[in-house]
Amino acid sequence: MYDTLIPENAVDQKEIKINAEDVQVYYGDTHAIKDVSVKIEDKTVTAFIGPSGCGKSTFLRCLNRMNDTIDICRVEGKILLDGEDIYDKKVDPVQLRAKVGMVFQKPNPFPKSIYDNIAYGPRIHGLAKNKADLDVIVEKSLRRGAIWDEVKDRLDQPGTGLSGGQQQRLCIARAVATEPEVLLMDEPCSALDPIATAQVEELIDELRQDYSVVIVTHSMQQAARVSQKTAFFHLGNLVEFGETSQIFTNPVDPRTESYITGRIG
């Protein structure tokens, strides 16, 4: 039934950007991620799908060590970014997060102006030489976040005053502005209307030219439209991982098939 949705995605072999091996995540005594191993390729969109509470966000947050901020969270196993273990003591999580950007499940603009929201990352990383440079980055990022037209006349107004969907696109623009190598997006379209969703999907497709993108989504159609690889999580396990076209047309595991045809979840 998904045949019509599957684009002609290029299926050539690419470099491995992130290599996760036997990752376990515990929240206190809860074992939230069990034995997950995935290889995320460069210049590829990888979709994480699965029923609510199965650990998609948790695993995504492991990839840029956002779980460090949760006291009770413990991560085991190996996650390599460009061959380097990101949980190694030598690695500075701050630098890691500059390389692996993130858009959160709930929009979280800073209580600053729209302009300052976008300029935040470039400023702390010194990406702009001067104000004019920064203006260019801000405009470009807002355009890529598909929100420029709506906010170009009110850049000095607080980002918190935007609607939920606008805030989410602002957060996408904010993440893009720091030029990360990998962009992690946790349900970026859950608050968006179809038009904005289409624009964000277009952006994801465009980002794929240079970056690696990981997107969590509850929409099978979206996963099928934008991703080349799909990982299906269920109860903390990675059930199946492979080419999107294969997962949606010819899933190996019966649980995957039940989920994408809407029988579990």
Binding site: T69, V94, K106, N108, P111, T160, A175, T178
Partner: protein, 486 residues
């Protein structure tokens, strides 16, 4: 029947009304409480409310108005000749009341009987001794008119007390009967009780508001009185504070205001950075374990009585600052100084600033931090650029609250800064504040109606206005902050 007994009877009626109302409600529903609009207890409650509330209100009004009425009636009996040289009607009336009370006590003690009081008309000579026996001292020889007034006073009081008992208990019974008759299964007893609860809440909050208004008015009247005796212009703009007991004082608020602001400023300079940094550490860096003992430990500072801080200023900080800073620098040799009071006051304020700021910083949603960390910001960048700006309005509110606390502080200042009113910039000099002078003006031996005493009220009102302004500002900012994450 005494007022206490009457109120007790009313409460008993209300109690009984509760149970009668309850069972009546069940009875009207034919024993099935599902037929009732409200649960049976609510019916009982309405009966209790109707029996108690109006009756108690009448009782309170009665108790307030009765003395005024009796006073009015009785004072007509006092002739101008009965008022002694240099005395006043109100003094005589006090005597009347004392004699009336004394007669009551004497009757209770059995040294006098009602009949004898009746007969006493002609012979008052032993009244004084009789009253003395039961412990009531009457100043001078009792005059005939005064005694008659006291007798009338007693009679009126007894009559009115009886009338009050009849009316109040009658009102209670009437209320009970009225509400009992209203009970039927469709009667919305629950909504009626809801209204009563609302009324109670309104009453409570108006008590708080009325108290504030009352405080302002009492200050205001005395202040106006002061300004009639002393020109307002001199009070507000004179830079000399020099009260004299024999009159002709200079009562300029400026040196005191300066002292107050200077000490508070030093205190805030000291308390705000330390408190704020402590708050940042506690909320962002400290582990759960450290936080669990450090936060209460800091808050203990807020529980120390200010007089203890005063001692600390007097015997430790003052001499220390004098010996190690003021004297070597040639800036003075006084151990009481603005700096002493300011530093100690600052220590006292640290927990105010840190505890409030900590709450405000904790109220910044975790999502803000995540968003910043997710962009590769470090902890201190996140704090500086996201958390503090987001929490700023709340922090400003905390600082302003600390400021009004500092401005109103007395004990630490009197023991740390001294009592000399001075307009000076040198922080090692002794100065004084408005609060200190309010205390010293009121505790002096000068006559109450002199400007030297009344100035305390004008000072108090000025202080009130300043701190009120600060509080309003703080509230405004805090409220604005609340809207931020909606």
């Amino acid at each position: 029947m005494s007022a206490g007994l009457i109120i007790l009877v009313v409460l008993l009626i209300a109690c009984a009304g509760f149970f009668v109302g309850r069972s009546r409600a069940i009875a009207t529903a034919g024993g099935d409480i599902r037929n009732l609009h409200s649960r049976p207890n609510y019916y009982g409650l309405t009966v209790a409310l109707f029996s108690a509330a109006p009756a108690l209100m009448i009782a309170v009004l009665w108790l307030l108005l009765q003395p005024l009425y009796i006073e009015g009636q009785v004072s007509e009996m006092i002739a101008p000749a009965d008022i002694p040289e240099g005395g006043s009607l109100s003094l005589v009336m006090t005597d009347v009341r004392r004699i009336a009370d004394g007669l009551d006590v004497a009757v209770d003690a059995g040294t006098l009987t009602e009949d004898r009081i009746e007969d006493m008309r002609a012979d008052l000579s032993d009244l004084r001794t009789r009253l003395g026996e039961v412990g009531i001292a009457v100043a001078s020889e009792v005059r005939q008119n005064v005694f008659m007034a006291a007798k009338t006073y007693r009679e009126l009081a007894a009559k009115l007390r009886l009338a009050m008992a009849v009316i109040v208990i009658g009102a209670s019974l009437a209320g009970a009967a009225f509400s009992l008759l209203r009970i039927n299964p469709d009667y919305r007893a629950r909504n009626v009780s809801e209204h009563a609860i609302k009324a109670l809440l309104i009453l409570s909050s108006s008590v708080a508001i009325l108290t504030t208004v009352g405080i302002i008015f009492s200050l205001l009247f005395e202040t106006l009185h002061f300004f009639r005796l002393y020109p307002a212009k001199d009070f507000f703009f004179s830079s000399i504070w020099n009260p004299q007991f024999q009159g002709g004082s200079d009562l300029g608020i400026l040196p005191l205001l300066w002292g107050t602001l200077y000490v508070s400023f030093v205190a805030l300079i000291f308390a705000v950075p330390i408190g704020l940094l402590a708050a940042v550490y506690l909320s962002e860096y400290a582990s759960k374990h450290v936080r669990s003992f450090a936060k209460p430990a800091i808050e203990i500072l807020a529980g120390i009585p200010t007089i203890v801080y005063g001692l600390f200023a007097l015997i430790t900080v003052g001499p220390l600052l004098r010996d190690y800073f003021a004297e070597p620098l040639g800036l003075g040799n006084s151990s009481s100084s603005v700096l002493t009071a300011g530093v100690v006051l600052g220590i006292m304020l640290i927990p105010f600033v840190s505890s409030l700021s900590d709450d405000v910083i904790n109220a910044v949603p975790q999502a803000m931090r995540d968003g910043s960390y997710g962009l590769g910001a470090t902890k201190s960048e996140t704090i500086k650029q996201v958390i503090l700006p987001a929490a700023l309005p709340g922090i400003v509110g905390a600082v302003l609250l600390a400021a009004s606390r500092a401005i109103g502080e007395t004990m630490i200042v009197v023991m740390g800064a001294g009592a000399a009113a001075k307009l000076s910039l040198n922080p090692f000099e002794a100065m004084t504040t408005i609060t200190v002078k309010i205390v010293s003006q009121l505790t002096g031996d000068t006559e109450f109606a002199s400007p030297e005493t009344l100035v305390a009220f004008a000072l108090g009102l000025s202080l009130f206005v300043v701190t009120l302004g600060l509080n309003v500002l703080a509230l405004y900012i805090v409220r604005k902050y609340r809207e931020q994450y909606e």
